[in-house]
């Protein structure tokens, strides 16, 4: 179902801001879609374009040397705010496959993993040094190695990251989580029977 994730060797794109919220990643007016694709236009809209719709030349995503970069490196609490999975879809539509930050909001982090996007948590000082290096030499590369759980910065600096083993397997193999869960259907059936006996009031259908 999903794209697999193994290695990335790509231009790193620095976004030196903290608390980047999902309204900034994709404004609400782009959520009026019933599809998962076609969202790249709205990505960071208010930061990419000025009020007249012209590209802001100094925003990193607009700078030629960062174009095509597939790793975004940002400040703490990335993806805070709304649960909109459109934020992940928009980042992926634009070409990103990984985000490196000192911390992520819980929901955004989950949403990444469900879509084959890798959220990498590194210590704040390591992230800042990556951002500084990318700002100093635009276009320089960052390597992300999921099997080895390392990020290699432009100066050859290597940063280890941790990841939940199951999430790692899902990313590496592009697994469909629902299909896996369906194997637990007998347990769900059993739980449901017991719960119905214990709390029958929870099994009255919602009236129309």
């Amino acid at each position: 179902m999903r794209e697999k994730f193994t290695f990335l060797d790509t231009a790193g794109v620095p976004l030196d801001r903290r608390n980047v919220d999902t309204d900034a990643i994709i404004p609400a007016r782009y959520l009026k879609t019933i599809k998962r694709t076609g969202l790249e236009e709205g990505l960071f809209f208010a930061w990419r374009y000025d009020a007249d719709g012209r590209e802001r030349p100094d925003f990193p995503l607009n700078r030629p040397s960062y174009r095509g970069g597939r790793v975004l490196v940002a400040g703490e609490n990335f993806g805070c705010g709304s649960s909109r999975e459109h934020a992940v879809w928009a980042l992926m539509d634009f070409g990103f496959r990984a985000v490196i930050a000192p911390s992520f909001s819980d929901i955004f982090h989950n949403n990444c993993l469900k879509n084959g996007m890798l959220p990498v948590t590194l210590p704040a000082a390591d992230v800042q040094s990556l951002i500084d290096a990318l700002l100093a030499a635009p276009g320089c590369r960052v390597e992300v190695d999921l099997p080895g759980q390392t990020v290699k910065g432009p100066k050859g600096d290597v940063h280890r990251f941790s990841i939940d083993p199951f999430a790692k397997t899902c990313l590496l193999e592009g697994l469909d989580e629902i299909a896996l869960t369906m194997k637990s259907a007998p347990e769900i059936d059993r739980y449901e029977r017991e719960r119905k006996a214990a709390t029958p009031w929870l099994f009255r259908d919602i009236p129309g």
Partner: protein, 466 residues
């Protein structure tokens, strides 16, 4: 020996996988914006909805709030999303509360009104403010669309147990100080990511004295501190709210249900990973000045100076926020003029909120040049407010009285700010562009928003209402 969260969690474990549990989900709410792709995913995989009777669907995010909305919705994409929700609900046998239904409203407001949210349950919605429902002593949390699809298919979700935080609030709130001020001050204290990875239980005498409406306001904004879950243990106030609601346990089951609910509260020796204590007895009405909900200050304060901030990252964030907000350090908050006032949202559009705002609006007039909107959280709130004559109070004062929906909380429908406009808002997010591209948001309580409407600037409601 456990926290309430842990007790509810343990009851819902279907099976385990390493450190994860497959958590049974009792109920799910769906709305038009975050569900179409989930239903489509099911269709593509040929999977049925496992328990349609456990799901309630409602359009709220992009519905217009003007009276003609039943006949026409001009925005094509909004119309398509609402139609997709109808089709998906019908196809799956899921109950839909449509825009013409007298119960329609914001998803987190109509769930409790239906008695759908009960102590001890797990409930999810593809919406980050689902934590609101934890006010009933439930595990309630926001999820992404892939997880919505997972719950539709399997009525369960793989989850990791979050860490446990308790925020204990003591002291009687002073007049015109509200639960909104309490939660804003909590967020200011622990920060926008202070609750990441945690479930937060609110405890203490101040919380015990709050109505269900006030408790929902508190839990609504836990996500603004980064926590997916907020919860409050159930008590007589909870039971009184629930009794007789359509989906509350019926008479024959009520006693058993209450007996069960009484076992839920955290044990005195429960272990907390973090504890925060707040004395609310001297708390003042709070207002935000920046673009993160953590940027809240007592209304008597002034716009802070980034230069005084030692941390370079924070200094930079504050500078950017002030530039966006068009504010200068040192400006007194009460000297900031507003263009619009929005009284609404899942944070503050329940009956008690409207009463508190109406009490300030009564006999006063919206200041010249200010547009003020009151958007009740649901059709039932609207009806009750009208029975109490609150609509007349607002209309006489020059406020607009609208139909229920999310409205200007996120500007997906026609209610939005224009670039540069400044709004006093009872909603929960002051992010850049949240209420419309370029719009500037100051978060506050309903009485504070009403005070801003009648003075045309951010004002201390205690002086206005004197």
């Amino acid at each position: 020996m456990g926290t309430m969260f842990a007790k509810i969690w343990d009851r819902h474990v279907v099976t385990r996988r390493g450190g994860d549990v497959l958590l049974y989900i009792d109920r799910q709410l769906v709305h038009e914006v975050t569900s179409p792709q989930a239903f489509e995913g099911l269709r593509l995989a040929g999977r049925p909805v496992r328990r349609p009777g456990a799901i309630l669907a409602v359009p709220d995010h992009n519905v217009p709030t003007t009276p003609d909305r039943a006949e026409r919705i001009d925005d094509r994409e909004s119309r398509e999303q609402i139609e997709a929700l109808r089709k998906n609900a019908l196809g799956a046998g899921v109950t839909l509360i449509d825009i013409t239904d007298p119960r329609q409203g914001i998803v987190h407001i109509i769930g409790p009104e239906a008695g759908l949210v009960l102590p001890g349950i797990t409930i999810v919605c593809g919406d980050s403010h689902t934590g609101t429902l934890g006010a009933f002593g439930a595990i309630a949390f926001g999820i992404g669309t892939s997880e919505v699809e997972h719950v539709l298919a399997a009525q369960s979700l793989w989850q990791k147990m979050p860490r446990q935080m308790r925020v204990t609030v003591t002291g009687a709130l002073r007049p015109l100080v509200t639960p909104k001020d309490v939660i804003l001050s909590v967020i200011a204290r622990i920060g926008a990511s202070g609750g990441t990875g945690y479930a937060i239980e609110f405890a203490g005498e101040t919380v015990r004295r709050m109505s269900m409406e006030g408790r929902m306001t508190m839990c609504n904004m836990t996500i603004e501190a980064g926590a997916r879950f907020g919860l409050i243990s159930p008590d007589e106030i909870t039971y009184a709210y629930l009794k007789g609601r359509p989906l509350a346990p019926p008479p024959g089951m009520w006693e058993a249900a209450v007996a069960d609910w009484k076992t839920l509260p955290s044990d005195p020796d429960a272990k907390w990973d973090r504890e925060v204590a707040l004395d609310a007895s001297a708390l003042e009405p709070h207002v935000t000045w920046g673009t993160s909900p953590q940027d809240a200050l007592p209304v008597g304060g002034a716009v802070p100076d980034p230069a005084a901030q030692a941390d370079p990252g924070e200094k930079d964030r504050m500078r950017r926020a002030l530039e966006y907000m068009g504010l200068v350090p040192g400006t007194r908050l009460t000297d900031i003029p507003v263009d619009k006032v929005f009284i609404g949202s899942c944070t503050n559009a329940r009956i008690e909120d409207l009463r508190a705002a109406a009490a300030v609006a009564k006999g006063r007039k919206v200041a010249p040049g200010v547009t003020a909107l009151v958007v009740p959280g649901s059709g039932l709130v609207k009806k009750q407010a009208e029975e109490e004559g609150l609509d007349r109070v607002f209309l006489d004062a020059g406020f607009q009285w609208r139909l229920p929906g999310c409205s200007m909380c996120l500007g997906m429908n026609p209610d939005k700010l224009k670039a540069g406009e400044r709004c006093a808002s009872t909603s929960n997010r002051n992010f850049e562009g949240r209420q419309g591209p370029g719009g500037r948001t100051h978060l506050m309580s309903p009485p504070m928003a009403a005070a801003a409407a009648v003075t045309g600037r951010i004002a201390d409601v205690r002086e206005v209402a004197r």
